[in-house]
C-alpha cells in the first residue's frame, strides 16, 4: 500500500523548508551577523549579510559599557528567585490539588486556569500602587512578586498535568509506609518529575529575565535595573551604534535560547495544556 516518495520531492521539500526558514528568521540572522561586524562595516549604505572580518570587539566593548554587567547580575537574581519560589509554591499546590482533599478545590483550579491568560497591562497599575504602599518600589523583591502572578498559573498547570499521569498507587504506597505528604513529595514524586520541574524552572526564569513592563515601572534606580530596561537605556545612549546594540541583544537572548532548546519538547506540551488534552 505504502509507496516511497520520489527522491526529488524530498529534496524539493528540504530546499523549500530551508528557504522559508531563512526568510522567516532573517531578522535574527542579521542581528547575529551585525553583532559580529566591526562598527565601520555596520554603518554602510551597502550592507552585506556576512561580515568581512569576524570580530568580538562589540561584545568586549559591551561589558565595559556603563553598568551592563550589573544589569545582567540583577536580572539573574530576580529570575532565579522567581524560578525557585514558583517551583516551591506550585509543587506544593499541585500536590494538594492532585492527591489531597480540601474545601474550595474546584474554585482554586478554575482560578488558576483563568489566571493563565491574564495580561500584564491589567495588573501594572494595582501592583504599582500595592508596592508603593508596602514600600517595595525599587526593590528586586517587588519584581519577583509581580512575576509570580504570571509564572504560578503556568507552573501549577504544568505540574498538575504531570502529577496526574503518575500512578495513584505510588503515592498511596508511600503514605502506607509512613511517609508524610512532604516526604512523599520531596523523596518520591519530585525526583521522578524532573522534566516538568526543569520546564517550570526555565519558564519562570526566562519570564523574570526578559520581562519589561514591570521592570521599567517598579524599578527606579540604576543599581536595581534589570537587563531588559538596561538594553533600552543603551538604546538611548548609543542610538546609532547598532553593532553594540545587536551585541547586547544577542547577549540577552543567548541564555534564553539555550534554555529553551533544552526543554523544547516538554515546554510545547506545557504550552498547549488546557487546550489540547494530554
Amino acid at each position: 500500500m505504502k509507496h516511497k516518495k520520489p527522491f526529488w520531492k524530498t529534496v524539493l521539500h528540504f530546499l523549500v523548508l530551508c528557504a522559508v526558514t531563512f526568510i522567516v528568521i532573517f531578522p535574527l540572522v542579521i542581528t547575529l551577523f551585525t553583532s559580529l561586524k566591526p562598527p565601520n562595516e555596520v554603518i554602510t549604505a551597502t550592507p552585506t549579510l556576512l561580515p568581512h572580518d569576524f570580530t568580538l570587539e562589540n561584545y568586549i566593548k559591551l561589558f565595559k559599557v556603563r553598568n551592563f554587567p550589573q544589569y545582567m547580575l540583577n536580572s539573574l537574581v530576580v529570575a532565579s528567585f522567581t524560578a525557585v519560589l514558583s517551583l516551591l509554591i506550585s509543587s506544593l499546590g499541585a500536590c494538594a490539588i492532585v492527591w489531597m482533599k480540601f474545601p474550595g478545590k474546584r474554585v482554586v483550579i478554575n482560578t488558576v486556569l483563568a489566571a493563565y491568560m491574564f495580561p500584564q497591562i491589567l495588573l501594572i497599575i494595582p501592583l504599582f500602587i500595592m508596592c508603593y504602599c508596602l514600600n517595595l518600589i525599587d526593590t528586586k523583591f517587588s519584581l519577583v512578586l509581580a512575576y509570580l502572578s504570571f509564572s504560578l498559573p503556568f507552573s501549577v498547570w504544568m505540574l498538575k498535568t504531570f502529577f496526574e499521569s503518575i500512578p495513584k498507587e505510588l503515592m498511596e504506597a508511600a503514605l502506607m509506609d509512613g511517609c508524610s505528604y512532604w516526604q512523599a513529595l520531596t523523596k518520591i514524586i519530585l525526583p521522578i518529575s524532573l522534566s516538568s520541574i526543569t520546564t517550570v524552572l526555565i519558564f519562570s526564569f526566562v519570564l523574570g529575565w526578559s520581562e519589561y513592563l514591570f521592570a521599567v515601572n517598579l524599578i527606579t534606580t540604576d543599581a536595581n535595573r534589570t537587563i531588559a530596561v538596561g538594553l533600552q537605556t543603551l538604546l538611548g545612549y548609543y542610538r546609532t551604534d547598532f553593532a553594540l546594540l545587536t551585541a547586547a541583544s544577542i547577549t540577552m537572548s543567548l541564555p534564553v535560547f539555550c534554555l529553551f532548546v533544552m526543554v523544547q519538547k516538554y515546554f510545547i506540551k506545557g504550552l498547549t495544556v488546557g487546550a489540547v488534552k494530554g
Binding site: 528540504f14 549604505a45 491568560m117 495580561p119 500584564q120 497591562i121 526578559s210 547598532f242 510545547i268 488546557g274
Partner: protein, 296 residues
C-alpha cells in the same frame, strides 16, 4: 477514620495555602482594587482621593482617543491573528513530515517566540533603519522605492511596521499548536480518499483543514487574547505615534496611568479591557469544554 480525613484536609490546606495566598495577593486583590479605584479620582500615588461614582466611565465614553485606541486594538488583533494563523499554518504543513531534520527546523522557527520583547524591538528598528537597514537596501536596489524611508515614521505605514513584529512574535505558537494537531490526524483517511480518486486539493480541503478546524479556532482565540492585550512591542516601537496612529488600548491605559499620572482613569480603561477579555475567555472555555466533551 474521621480524624484521619480531617488530618488530611488540614495538610491539604497547608500545602495549598502559599498558592492561594499568592493568587489572592498578586492577582485577585489587585484586580478588585482596580475596580474600586476606577470609581475614584486617584492621582498617581497621592493618598487622598474621593469617590466620584461613574464619572470616569462617562468621560471615557466621550473620549475620542479611547474609541480610537479601541479601534486600533481590534485592527491589530484581527490582522495579527490572521497573519499569525496563515504563517503558522503554512509552516506547520511544511514541518509535518517524519524526517530527522524536522526537529532542527522546528527549533529554529520557534525561536522568535522566546525572544525578549526589547530584543525584538531592537532587531526590527535595525531592520527598518532608513540609512543602513536591510529592508531599505533591498527595496532601493529593486527600485520599489526611490528615497530611503522608515516605515515607522510615516502615519500611513506605521501600523504595518508594528504589525509585522507582532505576527513574527506570535506565529510560533500557532505553528507548534497546529503541528501537534496535524500529527494526530488519522493517516488512513488519506489512503481511503486516494482510493476514491480524490485530488490532492480535495484531500487538503476536506481532510486536513476540516480536521484542523477546532484547533484553529482555539488557537485563534488564544492569540486574539494575547494580541489584544499586548503592550511591549507597540510601546517600544512607536509609543503610539506618529499622531496616535498606533495607539492601542493597552498603551492608552499605560499612558493615562503613568505619564499622565491619572491612575483612576487608567483603571477605568482597564476595567473596559477586562470586560472584553472576559468575553474572549468565555468563548475560549466554551470551545475547549465542548472539544473535551466530544473527545470523551
Amino acid at each position: 477514620m474521621k480524624s484521619a480525613r480531617s488530618q488530611q484536609s488540614k495538610t491539604g490546606l497547608l500545602f495549598i495555602a502559599p498558592l492561594v495566598l499568592c493568587i489572592i495577593g498578586v492577582l485577585i486583590y489587585p484586580l478588585c482594587n482596580s475596580i474600586v479605584l476606577s470609581f475614584t479620582n486617584k492621582m498617581f500615588t497621592y493618598v487622598k482621593y474621593d469617590f466620584i461614582g461613574w464619572d470616569n466611565y462617562i468621560k471615557l465614553f466621550q473620549d475620542d482617543l479611547f474609541w480610537l485606541a479601541l479601534f486600533h486594538s481590534f485592527k491589530f488583533t484581527v490582522f495579527g491573528v490572521l497573519g499569525a494563523l496563515a504563517l503558522g499554518l503554512l509552516l506547520a504543513l511544511l514541518l509535518n513530515k517524519n524526517t530527522k531534520y524536522i526537529a532542527f527546523f522546528r527549533g529554529l522557527l520557534f525561536l522568535p517566540w522566546t525572544l525578549p520583547s526589547i530584543v525584538v524591538v531592537l532587531t526590527f528598528r535595525w531592520l527598518y533603519n532608513d540609512f543602513y537597514g536591510y529592508i531599505n537596501y533591498i527595496l532601493l536596489k529593486s527600485h520599489i522605492i526611490d528615497v530611503p524611508f522608515n516605515i515607522l515614521s510615516s502615519s500611513k505605514t506605521a501600523w504595518i511596521g508594528v504589525l509585522i513584529p507582532l505576527i513574527w512574535c506570535y506565529y510560533p505558537f500557532v505553528m507548534v499548536f497546529l503541528l501537534a494537531a496535524l500529527q494526530s490526524i488519522d493517516k488512513s483517511l488519506y489512503q481511503v480518499a486516494e482510493l476514491d480518486g480524490a485530488t490532492k486539493w480535495d484531500m487538503f480541503w476536506h481532510i486536513t483543514l476540516s480536521s484542523l478546524k477546532p484547533s484553529i479556532i482555539v488557537v485563534a482565540i488564544l492569540e486574539a487574547i494575547w494580541m489584544f492585550c499586548s503592550f511591549d512591542l507597540v510601546f517600544l516601537l512607536t509609543n503610539g505615534g506618529p499622531a496616535n496612529e498606533t495607539l492601542t488600548l493597552s498603551l492608552y491605559i499605560y499612558k493615562m496611568a503613568f505619564p499622565a499620572k491619572n491612575m483612576a482613569y487608567g483603571t477605568a480603561l482597564s476595567v473596559i479591557m477586562f470586560i472584553f477579555l472576559i468575553i474572549f475567555t468565555i468563548f475560549y472555555f466554551r470551545l475547549v469544554g465542548r472539544k473535551q466533551n466530544s473527545e470523551t
